[in-house]
Amino acid sequence: SSSGGQSAAQQASASPKSGGTLRAAFPGGGAAETLDFLNGPTALDYVRARAMHGALGAIDPGAPDGVRYGVLERIDISDDLSSYTLKVRRGVKFTDGSALTARDVLYSLNAPVTLGSLPFLKPPSQNFDLAKARVEDDLTLVLPTKRPIADGRLILCQSTLVFKDGTTAFTAGMPTCGPFKLTEFQPGQGAAFVRHDEYYGLALGGGPYVDGLELRSIADATARVNALTGGQADFAADIGPVASRTLAANGRFAVETSELPYATSLSFGLNLAHAPFRDVRVRRAFKLAVDREAIVKTVLFGHGFVGNDLPSLGFPDYAKEIEQRPYDPGQARSLLRDAGADGMKITLTTGSEVAGLAETSTLYAENLKAIGVDVTLDQRPPGRLFADEGYFKLPFAASFSPPTPPLSQYESTRTAGAPSAFGFDRPDIDELVAKARGARDAGERREAAVRAQRLMWEEGNQVIPVFVPSINGQAKTLGGVRYEPFASFSEARLV
């Protein structure tokens, strides 16, 4: 039952009530957890940061601009797509009482470069020329782009959090402007918060509704479920498809899955350095061979979305007009035969980094055997898949990708023969993507985006059979949990 977060939220708002302490369990990273979310390796680090720091906004396909604004009021784009004007919301206050200004926002956008960060926080600095940014007044910031782009709002709002100008260390006592105030943090154990009473959202009639928030770090999925069922937590993140079925049978708990676009793609890279994959028929055969429905049904117990070998399902730029590729082992087999790759030998390297990856790989391998590929599965222990320098040299490797807008993601990972493209180097598609991002006219933009994606769909070297949402368990008393892109509790309520 992928009921989505909405219904529960509605339930909760039917009888709105404030107060209580919400306890949520997340897979943590042990002592490696840090308040420095720029370098924090786990999802929990980011969730925690999101609770304490204000965000520029969040991606929201339903909103007019494709984003829901946070500490910003709006983002205006110049007609030539070369300059973005950020309007800071008036009255956003830090916990030390000072007001948030455009300078703080600029500093925060620059921080991933000046303070160092993990790659996923770098897109704003890659797309905007921050050195040339101008602070017009306390509430106005103008950002020139490096080259004209239309999807800058998504990039800015996807994951940027704001903190005070001049911050160099992330500590428990630092001023923050998010929905909650941190009161206690213990790496590997958890963090405790109280509601930030000066939070700008309250004045707008929103949350947070709970008085306190506890984010607990529990590494083992079974343990998280146990914490939930044992009443030690109200929310358990990422419990995985199997546990979700167990939980669904229990009347006191609900299984909630994140809505699109917040789903992780499971993908398989066909390395073009490996001769058989240079033949597009072989690539197509590999795409036709996979039984996507079966994977969704058996591996994900229905909590998943069938993929169409294109990333970023659910984002505005995603080409939903391209027809769904069928499961056609017969045609796959004949394509292989035509290409002379019948009975080809290949090793599929996979891991268990995210829920369903290992199982999906297992089923895919069986699907491939059925069309006559002699496939060996190399299942690496957890945490081992990308650790290897040689990962991008593997002929056939599993991967996953968190939800990101398709075009900017393509540019940062697959253009100009980037190693992560597994030898896929198509200047024509690169150009189409660049055009799509930079076109002033919406129709033109759309058309280029779809054309680029169709080419990737037809000739690309990525098999993306399914998208796995975040599957969480929660007490029936909890509602209003949102995704941006991880679970956020700023609007959550306990009834």
Partner: protein
Amino acid sequence: MTRRALFAALCAGVIVLIALAGPLLTDRSPTAQAGNALLAPSPEHPLGTDVVGRDVLARVLHGGLAVVALSAGATVLAGAAGLALGVLTGLAGRRTGELAVRAVDVLGVVPPLLVMLLLATGFPAGDLAVLVAVALVSLPFSVRVVRAATQQVAGSGFVDIARARGDGQWRILRHDIVPNILRPVLAETGLRLSASIHLTATAGFLGLGAGAPAPNWGRMVGENAVGFALTPWPFLAPALLLVVFAVSVNLLADELGRALGVRS
């Protein structure tokens, strides 16, 4: 042979038989998807299906060989090395003995999991890594038990006499030391086997060791642990086989020790 010994031998025999002849007893593929995941037992799937919808019975029948070979291999490896090292260091002069024991200590103090993780990463074949890791991890136990027992016996009058008589080390070992330390050694061997079964299963549980999707009781236990609450069989069937195997071999070791240790 006592009734217990007979029973133990029978159980162990059945398990080994399942392990060896299992693949012949089914024509179902142990890796092919046979239906929905985690189906309850039915006539078609007597033990149900596992987390990815493979027939559990077929996997159980195919998955014994690796485990039996792995645990027996590790036991023999660790047991033999432990006996040899333990006896030698127990008999050797103070200096040499101490040195050798220190050397083994090096192994003993590295957390077993670390050894396993390191080896599982370093070796290309995961199962071999598990075997070596298990053997290495068990070795210090073996050596210490055997060594302590040996030291106790080595001080007795009859060993003195044999030595004074000119019996070679080997003869003393065979006639005086080994028979008198046999009980702890056999008990220890039983423990080695359980330990290696544990570690193999734990490796599976933690996702170490390569070879997936090939079935292996240890790995099956790990793979299906999440589905325990939905249908226990994919988890229980291999776990039970492992436990029965360990119990029966331990029992056999005990009975053997009793039989050999009879004080007329």
